[in-house]
Amino acid sequence: MSANDTLLAPAYATAFKERVPLEKVASPVSVILPAEIKSESIIRQGRLSAMVPGLLIPDYGASLTSTIYLRGIGSRMENPSMGLYVDGIPIMDKNAYDFDWTGISFAALMRGPGATLYGRNSMSGTLVLQSRSPDGHNSLSASAEGGIAGTLRAGVSASIGRHVLSASVRHSAGWFENIYKGALCDPYDGLSFRWKWEQPASGKVQWSNNLSASISREGGFAYGLYENGVLHPVSYNGEGSYHRLSVIEGVHFSYKGDGLSLDGTGSLQWLSDDMRMDQDFTPQHIFTLQQAQNSGTATLELIARSENGNWQQASGAFSFYRRNQMHAPVTFGRAGIETLILDNANRNIPEDIGYLSIPDDELPIGSEFTINTVGVALFHESVITAGRWRLTAGLRLDYEGGAMAYDCLASLHYRFIPTMKADKAFDVPYRGNVVQTSGLQILPKISALVEAADGFFVFGTVSKGYRAGGFNTQIFSDILQSRTMNGLMKDLGVYLDTPTVSVLAENTRYKPETAWNYEAGLRLVRDGFRAEGSVYYMDVRNQQLTVFPPGKTIGRMMANAGHSRSLGAEAELDWHIGDFQLRASYAWCDARFVDYNDGNNDYSGNRVPYVPEHTAFVSAAWNCKIKNATLQASASARAYGPIFWDEAGRLSEPLHIRPEARLSLAFKKWEIWLRGENLTGAAGRNFYFKSVGREFFSRERPLNILLGISINL
């Protein structure tokens, strides 16, 4: 790999909206080239954890989880805080973020808000992926890799004329046993496909088409009970599964005239998925959740660029429409009816009055949602070059609105003993519409970069990003549970002194979260050497957090209740000396709440949970020529932590180190390798949550040893 390979090669420039070499972008950028995607086995976005400074994408739950933490900002639910573009197409559904990188040949993650050009959700950063482009020649490559836990990955990619076809399959028998069922709970089977067609770059107009599809069936949710300081094995009785079909079709055209160019990108995105989850994660049938959605999105973006001497400008418009139909019933089992409903009700009813009985084995709470979201944006960015200086100013006006129709119904039978002689059917419908508008988001950006010496750049940026608002559908089961309880007691004519709080559908709306970013950095690019360092301060307002209703101690609702700030430093190094390569990165992040009161406790000053204070990555590789073969030995380690798991800072995870190693022997047309992940087998914890008053953790995957082979024809 040559020195310049560590920078942005011209062939990858179309992946970005910036039309300048990445070394001259006034914000930190991590670039992952094809050789690194292969050598570091980056088959999903989670493998970028720590490799990109400050980034943590823990592997837990299932593919829809896709929780991304960067610079103290993260999102477990609803909208992501990092933008994702594949071949210039914005991925609009968070449930589609975690996919196999079939045919992906290049990745770059620009840290900090990139909202001026990349729009909604590009708040902590923007991950830009580009798939392999046809080169006019016919070629075929195939690879297969197998390892512990039935791990099998196989892929094939063919370039035929102006087409590139890629397909891959992935299988895993699973890593974690659900001891209640005596079976592994997280098997995975997936098939991915990608087709790219590009018109030859001749003439003024060029077209390309990208079609990707993936289908997967997986288990997941390997969560174990944490009790008295002991993390127990996974043990629950309900179903834990996730099935997904995702199809994304995108068309891109570009026109290059004299001094003016136009780029247009349109896409249609379809996602159909079905998640089943045992929400109590215990052997008891307390309650389960299904969340199935059919989501369709259309996006369209037009950008006009012109260059006039030392002034480059880009002006554009973006719009999207998304319709999401969601079927999300929650079913309370017998244990749930008794512990969550009857116990709560009867605890407050004197024994001499009587007690409430619900004879049903299950209490279904049906929830149907139809959410329509529309967004439009106008943006402009100008770059002025003056000698060694590049000054950039940009502005984006973004408007987004959504409407949600909800249709929920709880049905049960009840009887108050001794007064009622027979069971009585009782239905609690909850139907209506709520509207949410984000208002006009004004997203400015100002940056300056100076090439202080040849290959030495100093930059500074002030920019604003935002994460879209929306509706918290998951809280409707809480609402229906409360309404059922209160409605039932009212039907009986019994009123608790402390009734269950029932928030309303209006409380499920939340506004956009915004972040101002102030950043300064250095970048040094020399032959075989690239180093970058930056410091930043991010001020996050209207943070989307779960809180208790005002004055209440129970019940939950999503609100823009928090104000936090992140202070951090990041560094990255890429160094190539002959046959030796070194890549290292490090980030420190101090993310704290400036103001956050959840209605019960004030967490102001505490660390933002789930955010690692440190991330570090180091990878060293050595190539050795042996006759007509190349032996490559590499070793790497990822580290992240400490991580606080709750707002109070009560539970934390120390710094994790996950060493990996790879040994490969490559010939002209084929290569074999042996590699290992998590070589120490450390069973660190990577996710924490509470359910029904109990605490749960998920563990990181243990040691895996994989043997692989690839052929290039």
Binding site: P350, D352, I353, F416, T419, K421, L492, G493, Y495, D497
Partner: protein, 147 residues
């Protein structure tokens, strides 16, 4: 003779005068707000701002009274709705007289014999409803005004 004529005239005038019978009030459905006082361990325990619904039967001979969100003792962690059915009504010049010797009230979806109602006496007069009764062992009274 004049005296006889005057007496006859007076008698005829009296005979011609129509005597209107006394009009008695008819029971009407109404909601009242007032105070329920329960005697608990010899001390009065007041439930203020209690809503009471008075609904007579179609023939006006009986009525039922529903007391909303009543608490019988201060320690009771819940309030309940109680309906007293089969209350006898008698319209008098002073108002509608309520009475009931003994009846099982309705609460929590059915009959609630634990708080059997005895010795109910009361009156609807103008916009005021008053009654007293025993809820089981608890002497109870209500006084309220129509909403």
């Amino acid at each position: 003779m004049k005296k006889i004529l005057f007496a006859l005239l007076a008698l005829s005038l009296i005979a011609c005068t129509k005597v209107e019978p006394e009009k008695l009030p008819e029971p009407e459905a109404a909601d009242y707000t007032g105070t329920v006082t329960v005697m608990f361990q010899g001390e009065p325990f007041d439930n203020e701002g209690i809503n009471v619904n008075f609904t007579p039967s179609e023939d006006g001979k009986t009525a039922e009274i529903t007391i909303y969100k009543i608490r019988f003792v201060p320690q009771m962690p819940v309030t309940i709705d109680v309906t007293i059915p089969k209350i006898n009504l008698q319209s008098t010049s002073e108002g509608i007289i309520l009475s009931c010797e003994e009846v099982i009230p309705l609460a929590m979806g059915g009959e609630y014999p634990r708080y059997k109602v005895t010795e109910l006496k009361g009156k609807v007069a103008g916009k005021e409803l008053t009654f007293s009764l025993n809820f089981g062992d608890y002497p109870t009274s209500f006084k309220g005004q129509a909403d």
